[in-house]
Symmetry: C2
C-alpha cells in the first residue's frame, strides 16, 4: 500500500530527492497493508502535534478547539459554487453560513447588508490590485496609514470616483478593530474592498479568505446555466466547509474573545521585542503589530527548529493566539544559548540592521556608538 523509504515522516524535507511516500496498489486480502496506512497517518499526526509548539514564525492560528465538533461535516462534499446570495439548485452547500459570516464582517467594517457583495475564497491575500493598502505587511507587519493617503489624494484633487482602494487586511483585519487608538478599517472611508484571511488570526484548518466589496462595483455578474446561478467569484467550485468553520469560530469567540486575543498578542509581542533589545539583540515591532522582527539567527537548524521566517539579515516571530509567555521564554532562552556559540570567538559580529530597523533598534556595535 505505502512504501516508506525513510524511517519517519519528516514533513519539512519534501524535495523530489527525499520523497518518503507513494501510493501503492492495495492488497484487499491483506489487512496489514491497511494497517500500514494508519501507521503512517498516526506518525504524521504525532509529528505535527509535537511540532505545534515550535510553530512561531508564520501567522497561522492552530489553537482552536472546535475541530472535533465539526468533524462530522467531512461526511459530505459541500460546494458553494457560484454566488453566495442566490438560491442554490442543490442541497450540499453552506451558503447560509457563508452569508452569516459575510454579514458579520460587513457589520464590523460598517457597510449595510444591501450595500455590499462578497464571498469566502480559498485564500486571503489579493495580488495585482491598481492601489492596495496593507494592514499588516507580510514581513515587518507594518500598517499603512490609510487616512493619510486619502487626505493626500483629496489634497491633490482626486475625487472618490478616480481611485480604487483595496485594503489587504489578511492578518491584522481582526486585530485593529479591537484595539483602542488604532485607526478604523471602515467602508465609511472611501475604500473599495477589504480582504482578510480566515486561517490566520481567527484560526481555520483550511486556507480561506473573506472578500467584501461595494455592491456597486459588481456590475457584470455572469450567469452560469449549469449551476443555475450568477457567478462573479473567480474560483468556480468553492469549499463549503470553511464558511461553517468560520461561522462556528466567530459565534463562539465573539468580539469579547477577539479583543482579548488581540490585546494579549500585542502585549506578548512587546514583551518579546523588549527582551530581545534588553539582551542586546536588534529587534523592531511596528505599532499595533504582532510581528517581531529581529536579527537573523546564524544557524539554519535553529531557524528550521522554530519555523522562523527570514528575509535578508532579518527573521521574524508572529505572536499569534496560543503563543504563550512560556513559549516566548523558551524560544528566547534557546536563542540566547545558541547565539553565544555563534558569536563566542568574535570572528563574526551581529549584522547592522539600522537601515531596516532604525538605528535606535539596532544593537550592532556601530549603531550603539552613534546612539
Amino acid at each position: 500500500m505505502i512504501v516508506p523509504t525513510k524511517g519517519e515522516i519528516d514533513a519539512p524535507s519534501s524535495s523530489r530527492k527525499n520523497l518518503c511516500l507513494s501510493v501503492v496498489e492495495p492488497d484487499i486480502k491483506d489487512e496489514t497493508s491497511f494497517q500500514e496506512l494508519d501507521m503512517i497517518l498516526t506518525q504524521y499526526l504525532e509529528t505535527l502535534s509535537e511540532r505545534k509548539k515550535y510553530h512561531i514564525g508564520y501567522p497561522t492560528n492552530m489553537h482552536y478547539e472546535y475541530h472535533a465538533i465539526l468533524a462530522p461535516l467531512l461526511q459530505f462534499s459541500l460546494n458553494n459554487c457560484g454566488d453566495p446570495f442566490t438560491q442554490s439548485p442543490v442541497d450540499f452547500h453552506s451558503k447560509d453560513f457563508e452569508v452569516a459570516v459575510l454579514d458579520w464582517f460587513a457589520q464590523l467594517w460598517e457597510i449595510d447588508k444591501d450595500e455590499y457583495w462578497g464571498y469566502i475564497t480559498s485564500g486571503g491575500t489579493v495580488r495585482a490590485i491598481s492601489m492596495a493598502f496593507w494592514l499588516g505587511t507580510t514581513f515587518k507587519g507594518a500598517i499603512d496609514d490609510l487616512d493619510f493617503v486619502i487626505q493626500t489624494l483629496e489634497y491633490c484633487g482626486y475625487s472618490n470616483d478616480r481611485y480604487y482602494i483595496h485594503c489587504d487586511a489578511a492578518l491584522c483585519g481582526l486585530i485593529l478593530p479591537f484595539i483602542r487608538h488604532a485607526k478604523k478599517i471602515t467602508f465609511k472611508k472611501p475604500i473599495g474592498s477589504i480582504s482578510i484571511s480566515g486561517h490566520k488570526f481567527l484560526g481555520c484548518p483550511m486556507p480561506c479568505g473573506i472578500q467584501i466589496t461595494r455592491k456597486s462595483y459588481v456590475s457584470s455578474l455572469s450567469k452560469i446555466e449549469y449551476i443555475n446561478s450568477t457567478d462573479a467569484t473567480i474560483s468556480g467550485s468553492r469549499n463549503g466547509l470553511t464558511p461553517i468553520f468560520l461561522w462556528y469560530c466567530l459565534s463562539t469567540k465573539g468580539h469579547a474573545r477577539l479583543q482579548q486575543d488581540s490585546k494579549i498578542c500585542i502585549e506578548n509581542a512587546r514583551y518579546l521585542k523588549d527582551r530581545l533589545l534588553e539582551a542586546g539583540i536588534s529587534a523592531m515591532l511596528n505599532e499595533f503589530s504582532i510581528t517581531v522582527v529581529f536579527e537573523r539567527p546564524c544557524d539554519h537548524k535553529f531557524i528550521r527548529h522554530w519555523n522562523l521566517c527570514y528575509l535578508r539579515g532579518m527573521a521574524h516571530v508572529v505572536v499569534m493566539p496560543g503563543i504563550t509567555r512560556e513559549t516566548i521564554d523558551s524560544f528566547f532562552k534557546d536563542l540566547m544559548q545558541e547565539r553565544n556559540k555563534w558569536y563566542q570567538d568574535a570572528k563574526a559580529l551581529p549584522p547592522c540592521l539600522a537601515d531596516d530597523f532604525g538605528s535606535q533598534n539596532c544593537m550592532c556595535s556601530d549603531s550603539k556608538m552613534h546612539n
Copy 2:
C-alpha cells in the same frame, strides 16, 4: 449566539430574502447559547444525511468512508503554499502526500516522474485554455475524440510545437483508463496537460483538482522569498488537507476498486437510460459516459427534490459511485408517477428532443412517427 428565523435549516433556500442564520455575540456566562450552536449543526447534519440519497443530478461522490479516520487532521492548519517539489520552510504542510498523489496520476497518464510538473488545486475545471478537450462534457457527458483531432492537425501540417492541447478530464479522468475499448488518456500522445477533479468520481469532502503538465512548459518559476519557495501555482495558499484525503482514497481503492466503480456506474447508467426509453421517455447516454440525459421534468419541486441539473428542455442524472439500482428504481418510479400527472389531460405534450438527442432517442409523437 444564533438567530434562526425559520423553523428549520433549509440549505437550498439561501437567498438574501430567506436567510436563516447569523452570527450573534456569544454570552459566555450562558451555556444555552452554545447549545443553540450545536443544535443548529445537528439539524444541518441531519438534513444533509437525509438528502444524500436524493443527490443524483451532480457529479459528486459522497460515498466514501474515510472521514472518521482523517478527522484528527482538522487539528492542524496545513498549507501547501508554493511548489510541491521544493523544500518547505515550515512543518505544517502535506507536500509528501501531494507528490505521492501526483506521481500516481503521472504513472496513470504515462509520463515519467522527471518529465512532469503539477500540483493539487482547489478545483478541477480549467477555464480559458488556447485548445481544450473535454473528457466528459458538463451537461451531456460527451467525450471528445482526441485521436481524431490530433490526426486532423497532423494531416493539416501542424507539427507538435504549433499547438497545445489541454485535456479537461474533470469527471471522466478516473473512468476511461479502466474501461476496455475506451481511448487512452496518455502523455504518449502530443498533449500538453491534463486536469481532473478530486471531489467528483474519486470522492473528497472539499473541492480539489489534480493538474499535471509537461515540465518543459513550466519555464518561468517565480521565487517567493517569504516562503522560501519557487511558485508556479496560481493560488498561493493551498489546502494541505486535500492531498492527504486523495492519498488515502487512492491507497485504499487502488486500480481494482476504481475499475469496479467505473464498470458499475456505466452499467447503472445504461440501465437507467434503457428504463427511460422503454417507458417512452426521451433519453440519451454517450459512449463510456455515466451522465444520463433525459426529458426535463415539468415540476420544479420534483427537480429540486432529486437535485436534478437541467438545461433548456433537458435534465440529467450523473450515475456516480454509491447510486445503486435501488436509488435508480426509486427515482424512476417517482418520475413515472409524477409524469402521469403532468401529461394526464393531454393539454401538454412531452417536448421534442430530436435535435439534442438524435431522433432515435426522442420519444415525442413526431419522432416516433418518423422512426
